[in-house]
Symmetry: C2
Subunit: 672 residues, 2 copies
């Protein structure tokens, strides 16, 4: 068997395993996996550099799959690599198996990312490529010389995010990014021609990518393209592989099944399955086999890899010896431990917008967290991520010494790329935009939450007080919406997202501290555009860490509890003053994070919000934002409609968000 025959045999082995696991599960996507088998085989058996004995080696090449439904292809290739067993893939898509329908991040088994929602996977890769260059600039080429591979399909290429990523990767000159586009021209419900006449090569060239078009089922062409890509000095590479959907597939009647839409999302089925396995040189009676010659191919590669990485480890050791401090720092960065930060030099001004207080925190981080990247979707001077930018500079092509990622008006790509940076390891990322545009980021928030990636979302302009920009820019339902992710648990039983809306500048510091300490889940920070009056002197900000607490100046015994988060707390403090003038006793409770509060002891929750208390909530969001906190006898004053365009002081009057009006509303509520 010559080399080419052997490689084709290995690809067919991937095909057989792929269709077999789908057949056994009676569920899944065989067609794409069959088309992509040749590429994945060449990549995994000849190019991808990893340490067979240290799956978490920081210097490994990364592979990010975009079309998660092509998991059979990935699982099969990883089975040839020895990262999955035949039993694992026989359990494809079953309860408790490590081979779920769409891959779920599992580094020990070679799965770098969860995937499913098309387009996000390759954005993680672009983010990882940024991280690699960022780390290279801080450490050395010796430690960071790996490549970032990603695999995209027709669906992903149609998602808008592909253009956001294409533009950004081109602009940053990410020559360490190599993307294979599996152009099989068949998607779930139609052939691609029904929805696109795109010249994809031209599109990527418009962003200055290195574009190579090949027969994606031809070993030699794949090899040449990958070699070309690896040697590209300046640009990201797109390899457009024209592939044949369901390559090697045979129908029940013995005719070819190649190119059929039907093979996209369903098992080949009965006779077609058996015919296909036979045609591919497998044993239909016992298809879950690794052919001996294919086993040898991958075993040989493993030995070769051991030689390759031995050299790399030697280079690494030399660098570590010469750079003991950096070396220790690198280990710290890759440890996933929260960075140590000395916040003592930070003194917040009182009565400022919380976005400005956030800027002050970001200034500290820029100085003390050398592995942090902050991004903004063209709003750094509004979302105040410029607090970070002002102490560093932007990442640009050829120079990754800066730490600010200018994403342009591309919220979703920003979100996914920042996730990708953290998936890569060694980097902590945060990103800013207006809160109302968190809508655009929800798909990324969900994946960060599912994968437990500790990115920080910074959302400013948190309410109708955006003012003149009007309803399109005024979040109303967004806080209730994003807090649903605090209620949704990840697979470790933690709240899948931690959300803070701090009540003043000092509380902002504490929330940023908690965000930086939280390396287990993503964190969202929601900030005001306008000035927020600070809470009374002497307020105990350590209590912010409990998610909810009694604000300084509250009366020991009380007729009513006033409850809010964010800038509404200070409105309540003022309303409380008015109420006290009329003889009422008032407790004010601030709840920067309901999710965190619910994780406190029942006793503490009861102490802060006794179940027999009268509780009045105030929110610039929908009333439902606080309804669970005030309880059945409580009352929430909130915004029930879209906002309006007018100066925010006028809106406060018109919408009733003034201490005077709240004072009246509370009296109405108490007297009921």
């Amino acid at each position: 068997m010559n080399c080419k025959e052997l490689m084709n045999r290995a690809a067919d082995n991937i095909r057989i395993l792929s269709v077999s696991m789908v057949e056994k599960a009676n569920s899944g996507h065989p067609g794409g996996a069959m088309g992509g088998a040749d590429f994945i085989n060449v990549l995994f058996s000849e190019f991808l550099v990893y340490d067979p004995d240290q799956p978490l080696w920081a210097g490994r090449d990364r592979f990010y799959l975009d079309p998660g439904h092509m998991s059979p292809m990935l699982y099969s290739a990883l089975t040839l690599q020895g990262k999955f067993t035949i039993d694992d893939i026989k359990n494809f898509r079953q309860w408790g198996s490590i081979t779920p329908g769409h891959p779920e991040r599992d580094l020990m088994h070679g799965i770098e990312n969860s995937s499913g929602p098309l387009g996000q996977g390759h954005a993680y890769a672009a983010g990882a490529a940024v991280a690699e260059k960022f780390l290279e600039a801080r450490l050395s080429k010796a430690m960071m010389q790996h490549k970032i591979y990603t695999y995209i399909s027709d669906g992903g290429i149609q998602e808008g995010i592909s253009s956001e990523v294409g533009r950004l990767a081109g602009n940053l000159g990410l020559n360490n990014l190599i993307m294979f586009y599996d152009a099989n021209d068949v998607q779930l419900s139609t052939a691609c021609g029904a929805v696109s006449c795109e010249d994809t090569a031209m599109r990527y060239r418009s962003w200055n990518w290195n574009v190579i078009t090949i027969d994606g089922n031809d070993v030699q062409e794949i090899r040449q393209a990958l070699t070309n890509a690896i040697n590209e000095p300046e640009r990201p590479t797109l390899i457009i592989g024209n592939t044949i959907m369901a390559k090697g597939g045979i129908k029940a009647d013995g005719t070819s099944y190649e190119g059929s839409v039907k093979t996209h999302g369903a098992p080949l089925g009965g006779e077609a399955y058996l015919n296909t396995v036979k045609h591919l040189g497998g044993n239909p009676e016992d298809a879950f086999q690794i052919f001996p010659e294919v086993k040898k191919l991958y075993d040989d590669r493993k030995e070769e890899l051991r030689r390759i990485v031995a050299l790399r480890h030697k280079q690494e050791e030399e660098w570590r010896k010469q750079n003991p401090e950096l070396s220790a720092q690198m280990d710290e960065w890759f440890s996933k431990k929260a960075p140590k930060i000395d916040w003592s030099s930070l003194e917040q001004k009182r009565d400022i917008p919380t976005r400005n207080a956030s800027a002050a925190c970001l200034g500290i981080l820029a100085q003390q967290v050398p592995n942090m990247i902050v991004a903004s979707a063209d709003l750094s001077n509004s979302d105040k991520t410029d607090g970070f930018l002002n102490k560093t500079h932007s990442l640009v092509k050829g120079d990754f010494s800066g730490a600010f990622f200018q994403a342009g008006v591309s919220e979703l790509a920003m979100g996914c790329m920042c996730i990708g940076m953290m998936l890569h390891g060694g980097v902590i990322s945060a990103m800013g935009t207006f809160f109302v545009f968190s809508d655009y980021m929800k798909p990324a928030v969900r994946m960060a939450a599912l994968m437990q990636v500790a990115v920080k979302f910074v959302w400013s302009h948190d309410a109708f007080r955006v003012g003149e920009d009007g309803p399109t820019h005024e979040p109303v339902e967004q806080e209730a919406q994003i807090r649903l992710m605090e209620k949704l648990q990840n697979h470790k039983g933690k709240d899948s997202l931690r959300v803070f809306r701090p009540e003043d500048s000092d509380a902002t510091t504490v929330c940023w501290q908690m965000a930086m300490e939280n390396m287990e889940t993503p964190t969202a920070l929601i900030f005001s555009r306008q000035n927020v009056k600070s809470l009374p002197q002497g307020n105990n900000y350590d209590d912010v860490r409990k998610g909810a607490y009694i604000v300084k100046g509250s009366d020991e015994k009380f007729d009513v509890i006033l409850l809010a988060n964010g800038s509404e707390v200070s409105t309540l403090v003022d309303a409380a003053t008015l109420l006290r003038k009329e003889g009422y006793k008032v407790r004010v409770v601030s709840v920067p994070s309901e999710g965190l509060f619910r994780r406190q002891s029942k006793e503490y929750q009861q102490e802060v919000l006794p179940s027999d208390a009268k509780i009045f909530g105030l929110t610039a969001g929908l009333p439902v934002t606080l309804e669970a906190l005030v309880g059945a006898q409580g009352k929430v004053y909130g915004l029930k409609s879209f906002g309006f365009s007018a100066p925010f002081k006028v809106l406060e009057e018109k919408l009733g968000f003034t201490p005077d009006n709240i004072f009246k509303e509370v009296k109405k509520y108490i007297s009921k």
Copy 2:
């Protein structure tokens, strides 16, 4: 004053009004408006065809602004057209004014769309262009010969949706779509070079657009480009206008303010403002003036338009005479009245997936609503919009006789284009994808809700019962999330979105009926992937119209109410049977729409859910989805975490969504 001088004078008039309204409001975006003034002036004074006396004329050219922050430019041009008064624009961004910070749809004043979130505006235009061609194919060229203009800026061009729209418009050959790209190379926080080195012309050529690059501040070049665009027979046209941000701006120190990032989002301020007005030939003391010669230019155009549209109206009359039935139909379509539909021939099968029941409804609509377009994001055979497709065919380049819009894997563009079809008028649109991907559509849902556009969202695969595809494809928080829009009111005080999750096949029919009757707000329909057992024979499906009702077979007196929507209702019916065997009396309540239920009389709400009743809720979403319905003493059994990959029957067992387990849970709850 020669023609060119006059045109420049008119453009400067737009500049002066724009900077003046921003200055007066002390808030807004002057720079972009000044750069785009020349284009908007040429378009509005020489090209845009509308009937000065009938703002709602169906044959008018449409203009969709994408960058809503450039509202001063639009308001100024419309003031020259006489659609706004000087007083109106003096009230820019103030409470109750008709000139809010970002434009809000107002056809009587020439505002075709609300805008703000970048990228959506031009997608509406592409949708309108589809509608125009669709209607032309059904009526005649005489009635539908108008053009769809749209205006996009650097921010919009960076949003991923621009590529989704670019691909779709190119593939459909929308030569009636003319897009001006205001390339001023300056965005909010940086110059564009920081985030893009894109060759935008090349990108649009990759989708077969007609691309023309011009000096966007040169009258003659703008004119030629527009003429070229109008005569383009096959392709959409992109006019890339290289413009100068803040053209004509002068700083306080008398030097040029042109090209400065600072002019993007803030008033020019004091001296700079005065210097600029003077430099542009205005009177700094009294800048809100329409120059007499500019008034004459626009008055003359108005007279010319009256001649142009007189001819068009004559053509229309002739066609109407020859096609009285079609003519009546057209009036009906543009009336915004709900279409008359005879549902009597529809007999739903029992015990089928509600997505299949939806397909049956869509079959009726395909036959009876000739002005309806249905779309899918590459999932028609899964989301079952193919119930419509199977009775028509897809829209393709050169042939708009079909009524199915294949959007490819581009959920956001699909959403916005379907909105655009209805903004155009004459068309009703619906669109399908998986419910979990409603996340990608949220920005479009919000704008449809704000603009009160009656699109229909069809979301299938509504819960963890998606099964093997795993957590990335299993909605959990999505129902609670989207129902927040039922709680958010539009500016008419209506629930901004109507949401239905029907409980079986017959209820699906009623929900589709209500969706088609609802021409006031968008409607969302959420359907199951798996079979759903039909409710007991004799169930009164008219009650579905009340949003919640007592299911047939409930006991008159009861120990507990079991409450759910969607497929969980049938689980409760089975659990009720088990409970009755042990002597319990049970009421089962189905709540396909909490929003609609809350709009019923207090008496009815009390009748269905008496406040002293014990209520047990079951939801495949987060428990919070039903918490307001079960009340403080109630209990909700829901899903608290992301889903898992396994066959859905296994998941039902593991997650406890079986009648047996619910029976136990209810007993536990009652016995408390």
